[in-house]
């Protein structure tokens, strides 16, 4: 589904000396979508993002946006904008001047650029604090300002590197809703790096899972969650067990595993309370630990304790064959 406004990575590679941080990846991001780049620490997410932004040189390959190769352009001429993990707000400038910064660099006169800055501050609901310095803002407020500053350049693609990781969990959930809302309102592509799968699932139209410098799987969130291509993706997305049946590896969702009167014999090894659900971990012979996720009612009506022998069962249709 290619359009004229795609962001395309062609054979994109990044080397730092001998380490290959990004290994010849190819991907087309649809315009106007919310994409989450997901993967464990060190898999090359930031490197990819920073190459797209122009803060890291491309070792090999190309980056195409709306058809033109932007990989040699300076960051500001690429049609991208970046929001940094720690926000990187200029500490010596007021909120308003931070947002107006790019206009000032372009030589836009003061009233015009301030008017525009205020407009964006309205958008992120920060207009009343326009005169403050970044140090006088809470984390959530700083995040909004950083967003406004990135958006003032009217980018086609907004790049966000772990934008929520500096916030406490409560705030994180609130701010992710705002990100989603903004993306929908503006209709531009958001490319959001995270290593939280819940964040990715909640936000993304498309999830791109990276591992070991390559893209392991990409697709709509639901597709990636429900049909993980590899064992790595299955484990990393969470909510899955990997079981070996007839020498084949399969993923089965934890909420599809039942404690039944017959099935795979196993022993309960751990119980984790999750509020409205309970995760029961059981060890079956020749398998890695298998988690059965059950509602609290079901769990407490059953009185299951560690050490207890149980049988694990699932509907055959819920088994998903893994490719690697």
């Amino acid at each position: 589904m290619r359009t004229a406004h795609d962001l395309e990575l062609a054979n994109l590679t990044k080397r730092y000396g001998d380490t290959i941080a990004v290994n010849a990846i190819n991907h087309v991001f649809a315009p106007g979508s919310y994409v989450c780049l997901l993967g464990p620490s060190g898999c090359g997410k930031s490197s990819t993002l920073r190459m797209i932004a122009g803060h890291e040189s491309v070792s090999e390959g190309a980056i195409l946006l709306s058809g033109r190769d932007i990989s040699a352009l300076p960051p500001a001429r690429r049609g991208t904008a970046m929001m940094f993990q720690n926000y990187a707000l200029f500490p010596h400038l007021s909120v308003k001047d931070n947002v107006a910064f790019s206009l000032r660099m372009k030589g836009v006169d003061k009233p015009t650029r301030h008017a525009k800055a205020m407009e964006l501050l309205e958008l992120v609901d920060m207009a009343p604090l326009a005169e403050r310095l970044p140090a006088q803002l809470s984390g959530g407020q700083q995040q909004r300002v950083a967003l406004a500053r990135a958006l003032v350049t009217e980018p086609e693609v907004l790049l966000l590197d772990e934008p929520l990781s500096a916030l406490d969990p409560f705030l994180r959930i609130r701010m992710r809703a705002e990100l989603k809302r903004l993306q929908r309102e503006l209709g531009i592509t958001f490319l959001h790096v995270t290593h939280g799968q819940d964040e990715a699932l909640a936000l993304a139209d498309e999830v791109v899972v990276m591992n070991n410098s390559v893209i392991e799987q990409a697709g709509p969130a639901r597709e990636v969650f429900n049909t993980p291509r590899t064992e790595f993706v299955a484990r990393f997305m969470g909510g899955h067990n990997v079981v070996t049946l007839d020498g084949q590896r399969h993923a089965v969702r934890s909420d599809a595993v039942r404690l039944a009167s017959d099935g795979l014999p196993a022993t309960v090894s751990a119980i984790e309370y999750q509020g409205d659900r309970v995760a029961v971990t059981a060890q079956a012979e020749g398998q890695e630990p298998i988690i059965a996720l059950m509602s609290d009612e079901a769990f407490y009506s059953n009185d299951i304790t560690p050490g207890q022998p149980v049988h694990l069962a699932w509907d055959a249709g819920r088994l998903h064959r893994l490719q690697a």
Binding site: M82, K106, L137, T153, L171
Partner: protein, 278 residues
């Protein structure tokens, strides 16, 4: 308030003694600068007066304190500005890897540790051999830079070690050119440390003796002048000078702190949500 451990009081006393030790001579100078007109450089006091402060502004029997002060002040400012500019540039250079950076770094360290008199001697010899005129604003200036620049550069290392690169990336992202990034982002952020570099540069220059000794030329800088003056009968005038300098520094530091305080107050007007989970 937390209860203080006993070591706090012991150390406070130690610190107080240290300050007293530091200020001892300054205080001695301070007291003796109020000698009566008959008084000398040593105790006992012979009367109390402002005579020597008055005398300080008259012509002395020998030497030209104010001329030397003007020169030292001008030289101090020259050195200060140059130190700031050159250190910042070099500091920026050292953030990238460039061929020769290691060598330049060790040269800088050598410049720091080389005994001052050698610079004085060497620069004097060179100018002599090349038939150039030594002058405080040329040879003297250059010699002092070999002392202030290493300090400036070390401070810049400290500053840039703590400088978050993402500020620059953010600026580039916002369309700032390399120069605009430095002008509108890097320099303003490191400005407070530059004040430190500037003060350091000025003080080191203002007080430099050995490196200027053989490189100042026809006209003395203040330390040389003070030393030259001691070849005639000296009076508490030089103490009055010391006292005034100290008072002047106190004033500058006071003004500095006051400005910082006022600015903090002004900023606080807008309130703060820092640290709040909103």
């Amino acid at each position: 308030m937390e209860k203080r451990p006993r070591s706090f009081y012991v150390l406070s006393l130690f610190f107080a003694l240290f300050v007293l030790f530091l200020y001892g001579p300054t205080l001695t100078i301070g007291i003796l600068s109020f000698q009566g007109p008959e008084g000398g450089l040593t105790f006992p006091m012979r009367g109390v007066s402002l005579n020597w402060f008055h005398e300080l502004f008259q012509q002395q029997a020998v030497g030209d304190i104010w001329g030397a002060f003007r020169r030292s002040f001008a030289l101090g400012l020259m050195v200060m500005v140059t130190t700031v500019v050159v250190s910042v540039m070099a500091g920026l250079a050292f953030r990238k890897k460039f061929p020769g950076s290691g060598l330049l770094f060790y040269l800088t360290i050598a410049s720091l540790v080389i005994p001052s008199i050698l610079i004085s001697l060497g620069v004097g010899l060179i100018f002599n051999q090349l038939g150039l005129k030594v002058h405080w604003a040329t040879s003297g200036f250059g010699s002092q830079l070999t002392w202030t620049l290493p300090f400036g550069l070390l401070i810049m290392f400290a500053v840039f070690n703590r400088f978050d690169k993402s500020y620059e990336e953010a600026a580039r992202d916002q369309g700032a050119t390399a120069w605009q990034t430095i002008r509108y982002v890097v320099l303003p952020i490191i400005a407070p440390s530059l004040i430190g570099v500037a003060l350091f540069g000025f003080t080191l220059s203002y007080d430099e003796f050995a490196r200027t000794l053989l490189t100042a030329g026809s006209y003395n800088t203040l330390p040389l002048e003070i030393y030259g003056i001691t070849t005639n009968v000296t009076t508490p005038v030089i103490y009055a000078l010391g006292t005034l300098t100290t008072a002047f520094s106190l004033l500058i530091i006071g003004a500095f702190l006051l400005t910082a305080w006022v600015m903090a107050r002004r900023r606080a007007r807008h309130g703060s949500d820092a640290g709040k989970g909103v």
